[in-house]
Amino acid sequence: MQRRKLPDVVVTGIGAVTPLGVGARTLYERWTAGTSAFRDGEAPCDDFEATDHLSTKEARRADRFTQFGIVASDEALREAGWAEELPYDPFRIGCVLGTGIGGIGTLEGNHDTLRDSGARNVSPLAIPLMMSNAGSAALSLRHGLKGPVYSVVSACAAGGHAIGTAMRAIQCGDAQAVITGGSEAALTPLSRASFASMSALSPTGVSRPFDNRRDGFVMGEGAAVLVLEDGDSARARGANILATLRGYGATGDANHITAPEADGSGGARAMMLAMADAGLTPADIDYVNAHGTSTQLNDRSETAALKTALGEYAHKIPVSSTKSAIGHLLGASGAVEAVATILALRDRVAPPTLGYDEPEDGMDLDYVPNKAQPLQTASDKRAVALSNSFGFGGHNVTLCLETA
């Protein structure tokens, strides 16, 4: 089917709060240098103190997942040059954020209160803090965004879905710009126990995507936010453009509530759709930021998906996983990884898959083991990457990003 030409959508600001520290560049630079952020089998944002960035009122009116999102958004809007004033009619600026779970820390805390102290002591802030849409609502309030504002929930694909959905809102004319991304703060007792009981978490607490010894994911927390703008509008205001969001592909496996399809066909199709949306082919792809969770099933099926989608190019394109450095940020991962990918493309670097030493039979792609590699991109070509996000429920998302 021939699609009508849609407006281009550009990225003019990025921000992140991750286990490697506050700041998008902190994430990218530390990961590329080979630094990882694991402590006791998790990747917490130890450096993050909400009141360093937010007033007392703002901090207590936000679950930790929302706090991460607000701080990442402040960085992104500053970079976009929006800190003083919005460049467009507020009704033409939207916000679409993704989360896997939402305010589970608030939920658990208030459930403890209910059990221990009774219903009358449950906080009036419980609902506004725990609701999964709290992140987009908070960003709307903080920055005065009055266009389409909502959150998307698709487990570990939510960050990718949010960015793709935001792109579509701009292309369809619903908004001139959309603040988008994902946030998660699920290092809580119930969440840990639940992921552990389904054997999704690494019992050894080591995240080594694609390595033969991988035994589950390691949970992290954090957020990333991107400022997306209609390309013509951004150029007209003289914005500094970081990247173009070239394509978006999304599919559902219809296979199993948690397990990906073994042949990776759903993920492959998402990648092919994203390339088609971008008007590109596998020959144009310089780097893949994999979902790469460090679970047995994902990394094997994603490798199969990459081979299907990229064909003969699969073995030539470097593929690495941000989760080797910061663990799995669930609904934030797609956004955090998109931000890291934008900076990697800018520097024409494939950041490494840390902890990768032992190949598994049949998993024979270039996983960029342990050390960043320069991208083999022709000097007159803009570097292009795919970024994958897959979620429980069989959700598959691929974004296609091109450096400015």
Binding site: T56, K57, E58, R60, R120, N121, S123, P124, L125, P128
Partner: protein
């Protein structure tokens, strides 16, 4: 109503408002909720704290007539004394 009770109530209210993010130097008897950025969710939380510490129930309707910090302290003191 004893002076001690008044002072204890005032402390409860002031401390709660500070926790909610109101600036200490702006919390005066005459301060309106708007002026110190206190909204309905804060007041619902204040009602819980007051009930917990003083055994006084503040219902939704009661709040309609409580516009300032002083109104709240007086209302709680009266209800506690009753």
């Amino acid at each position: 109503m004893s002076a001690t009770t008044d002072s204890a109530i005032e402390t409860t209210v002031t401390e709660a408002l500070k926790t909610f993010g109101a600036k200490e130097d702006q919390i005066t008897r005459d301060a309106t909720w708007d002026s110190i950025d206190i909204d309905s969710l804060d007041l619902a939380e204040l009602a819980q704290i007051v009930e917990d510490e003083h055994g006084v129930k503040i219902e939704g309707d009661d709040m309609k007539n409580i516009k300032t910090v002083g109104d709240a302290i007086d209302f709680i003191a009266e209800k506690k004394a009753a």
